[in-house]
């Protein structure tokens, strides 16, 4: 089996690294990654813990398929309590770090306590040691990775680190690995910063085994064929990346624009996947250089970009002139449509610095959008922004404020608190497009009704990934449903939530679910672990994980009152497009959802449900 059955426990207060056996009973009940690590976290941490205190813990976790030849086997998760939300934080990342960790012989790393001085964890197969990181503190993710490679003398190490944003505890700071992949949301990077943990560097050469290699290769071969034949995973995503969605969602009439004042953006065509591939007027070259893959991934949806060196944001700064990780749809939406900025190069720059300083572009863009609306209202003035004319559509203002936020300077310090705290401070909390403190992403619930329920009930605060019903409501996967109706969406959301949790726990990328079902995933897991998972039992694991997370949140203080949406979505009708005249019909979906979940009318998992799921 692929489990190494070794957990690395790092006590940052004492500076020690110890080995523990992996709890195999829990591995059987929670499968791995998101599920298993959440179980560990909940068993060890007080739900009321202050996320930025030394009593909080931070877990890096792999799934059983991580590091194997399964398609998209690079995935790993960061689990903690989110400083942005106060809820369970579970952030999934790709790249190469997770596979390297597995190859080094570790299933999970648990960080506890707080180091007195900045340190990094150096893992080389079974050798794990905390080392001095004082020379790296204050440096960006990119510089940190270069320094780690230089220090170790090994070009092949993989790194996960925080930039200046995590160090200064920007509430949406990210953990960035392999320079441009990230565990992005809920401020997991701030937790790392609060512990004075700068980075983890990892080299693994031990290899990853599976129980029944022949059956495994057959199962993965079958999955690879399905992925290659599917139009989304085999063509749309490799060609345009997630940015294939910009024009699609805009035409669906569900692109939240200017802090969700509108549902369509007149500049959408200038900031989407097609625009990235078009030669620029300025220098005749395209923003997009190529696509690229994470570890083990045949989909290869990564964007590699190259900016115009004469663009105002990067002029005279050669470090931004080369090939870097380019825009994803969520980032382009948040930095672009949400703020009204349609300068693709400016968005590319701001996305670069999200990777460089280590920040979540979704929360960043959405918070800037809220600040822009406050500025438009005259509630915030140039005196507050230090002279930055924070107007909707201003690429200059966007670039300046993103810089400031990453470096913790000027008004950027306030942006770094997220839109909930920012808008509360200035007396207009209704302008924060958040649920449970986290900003919702690039799909307007007025135009895609299921996403309203998704955001309202997501266990980590508003998030599209917990139940991407857009797949069904817009893309027709697995079956087309009508985005404008709330009928049937309660069941749809629950089904997506449970299945997604299972995909996450297995250690593969949720994007495979555009083509694969749990019937396809099961054989890979079974050949790996020599167990007998079915799509039913995998779905049950997903449901178990969902209820485990929900219960933690309730113990942390959340109630059904928090399963809601910003008033703008519930009351202000969409002004244009197919959803014109519609608001979110959350009220129609929520009671049915609670019932389908086996929860009380107050959204609390019933004893019957908890018992059925062995919780």
């Amino acid at each position: 089996m692929s489990w190494t059955q070794k957990v690395l426990r790092v006590n940052l207060t004492n500076g020690t690294c110890d080995i523990e056996p992996l709890n195999m009973d829990w591995a059987k009940k929670y499968l791995g990654s998101r599920g298993l690590a959440t179980k560990y976290y909940i068993e060890e941490c007080d739900p009321k813990v202050d996320p930025l205190s030394e009593d909080n813990k931070l877990i890096f976790a792999t799934g059983p398929l991580t590091g194997t030849a399964a398609p998209t086997s690079g995935r790993w998760t960061v689990i903690t309590k989110g400083p942005l939300t106060g809820a369970i934080a579970c952030s999934n990342s790709g790249g190469f770090f997770g596979a390297e960790l597995k190859n080094a012989g570790w299933d999970m790393v648990i960080f506890e306590g707080k180091s007195a001085e900045p340190v990094y964890l150096d893992i080389n197969n079974d050798k794990a040691e905390l080392k001095d990181a004082s020379s790296m503190w204050g440096k960006s993710v990119w510089d940190t990775e270069d320094m780690l490679r230089a220090t170790s003398g090994d070009k092949d190490i993989r790194c996960a680190s925080i930039g200046q944003a995590g160090e200064s505890q920007v509430l949406f700071a990210a953990v960035v690995n392999d320079k441009d992949r990230a565990a992005g949301r809920s401020g997991v990077g701030a937790v790392m910063g609060s512990k004075n943990l700068k980075a983890v560097s990892c080299r693994g050469t031990l290899g990853v085994q599976v129980g029944d290699p022949m059956a495994f290769m057959q199962a993965t071969g079958a999955c690879n064929q399905i992925l290659a034949d599917n139009p989304v995973t085999g063509e749309g995503l490799p060609t345009y990346g997630t940015q294939v969605l910009m024009n699609v969602i805009n035409e669906t009439g569900a692109l939240p624009t200017r802090n969700s004042a509108d549902v369509q953006f007149e500049g959408a065509n200038e900031i989407g996947g097609e625009a990235m591939a078009e030669p620029r007027a300025s220098d005749g070259k395209a923003n997009l250089v190529s696509n690229a893959a994470c570890f083990g991934c045949p989909i290869s949806c990564q964007r590699r970009s190259q900016m115009d060196p004469n663009h105002f944001s990067v002029e005279g700064q050669p470090k931004y002139h080369g090939n870097e990780g380019g825009l994803e749809y969520e980032a382009a939406w948040a930095l672009g449509a949400a703020t009204g900025v349609k300068d693709l190069e400016a968005l590319t720059y701001c996305n670069y610095i999200c990777n460089e300083y280590g920040m979540d572009p979704i929360t960043l863009g959405s918070t800037i959008a809220a600040a822009m609306e406050l500025y438009q209202m005259g509630v915030i003035t140039d005196a507050d922004t230090g002279g930055i004319a924070l107007e909707f559509g201003s690429a200059e203002a966007l670039c300046k404020i993103c810089d400031q936020t990453g470096l913790g300077e000027g008004f950027g310090k306030e942006i770094g608190q997220g839109s909930k705290r920012l808008t509360e401070k200035y007396g207009h909390p209704e302008l924060s497009m958040t649920v449970k403190g986290q900003e919702f992403p690039a799909y307007d619930p007025r135009g895609i009704q299921g996403m309203g329920l998704t955001y309202a009930t997501s266990n980590r605060g508003a998030c599209h990934l917990r139940s991407y019903t857009v797949a069904s409501e817009v893309l027709g996967i697995p079956e087309k449903t009508d985005p404008l109706t709330s009928d049937g969406k309660a069941g749809l959301v629950k089904a997506f939530q449970d299945a997604t949790a299972a995909f996450d726990a297995a250690g593969i990328c949720i994007f495979t679910s555009f083509a694969l079902t749990l019937d396809d995933v099961g054989p890979m897991v079974n050949a790996d672990l020599e167990e007998e998972w079915t799509s039913e039992t995998l779905l049950e694991v997903g449901e178990r994980i969902w209820n485990l997370e929900r219960k933690f949140n309730m113990d942390a203080g959340f109630t059904a009152a928090d399963d809601t949406l910003p008033a703008r979505l519930l009351k202000d009708a969409a002004k244009t497009g197919p959803a014109k005249g519609k608001v979110s019909e959350l009220g129609k979906m929520l009671p049915e959802y609670y019932e389908l979940r086996g929860w009380t009318a107050d959204g609390v998992p019933s004893n019957e449900t908890l018992n059925r799921l062995d919780l």
């Binding site: 030849a69 190859n103 290899g207 085994q209 290769m217 250089v289 690229a292």
Partner: protein, 159 residues
């Protein structure tokens, strides 16, 4: 007709599935560090480039070996290391100008690509056309065709 493992780096996405297929074929585990084919990422250009032994007709490794542990597979043309004869002297790793034969400290022998005996697994798992197994004498054909089209004056406007 001998076939070669043909590399088209423009198509390589850097997924490393080839490295896992190779290590699985030879060692039974997924271990990119034990793969005989390697993917190199060049950060400045963002390019991913596979590289592997190209089975020299007049192979330095074969000539340098003091115990004749390297021989030619008559069917595939691959230069293969016979582990039982190899003494791990590593002279072949010095002789090879390309670095594609390397010492394995666990087995104490050297490892190199042997084309998996005629059906290279790396090619099977590559999701793009970055790796292909084609007739040796046609290896350049696609590139030639591409440039032939570009240089065809008769095909251009105003000719």
């Amino acid at each position: 007709m001998v076939k070669v493992l043909h590399i088209n780096a423009t198509e390589c996405t850097g997924c490393h599935q080839c490295e896992m297929a190779c290590s699985y074929h030879h060692e039974g585990v997924f271990n990119p560090s034990k793969s005989r084919i390697k993917i190199f990422n060049f950060e400045e250009t963002g390019r991913n480039v596979p590289y592997v032994c190209t089975q020299c007709a007049d192979a330095w490794c074969l000539q340098a070996c003091p115990v004749d542990a390297i021989s030619v597979n008559a069917d595939t043309g691959a230069k293969e290391v016979t582990a039982e004869i190899c003494v791990g002297c590593k002279v072949c790793t010095i002789a090879c100008p390309f670095g594609t034969i390397n010492y394995n400290s666990v087995s104490t022998k050297v490892d190199k690509c042997d084309l998996c005996g005629g059906e290279p697994d790396c090619v099977k798992v590559c999701p793009t056309t970055a790796l292909s197994f084609i007739e040796a004498e046609n290896a350049g054909m696609e590139k030639m065709r591409h440039w032939a089209e570009k240089t065809d004056a008769g095909n251009q406007a105003n000719s």
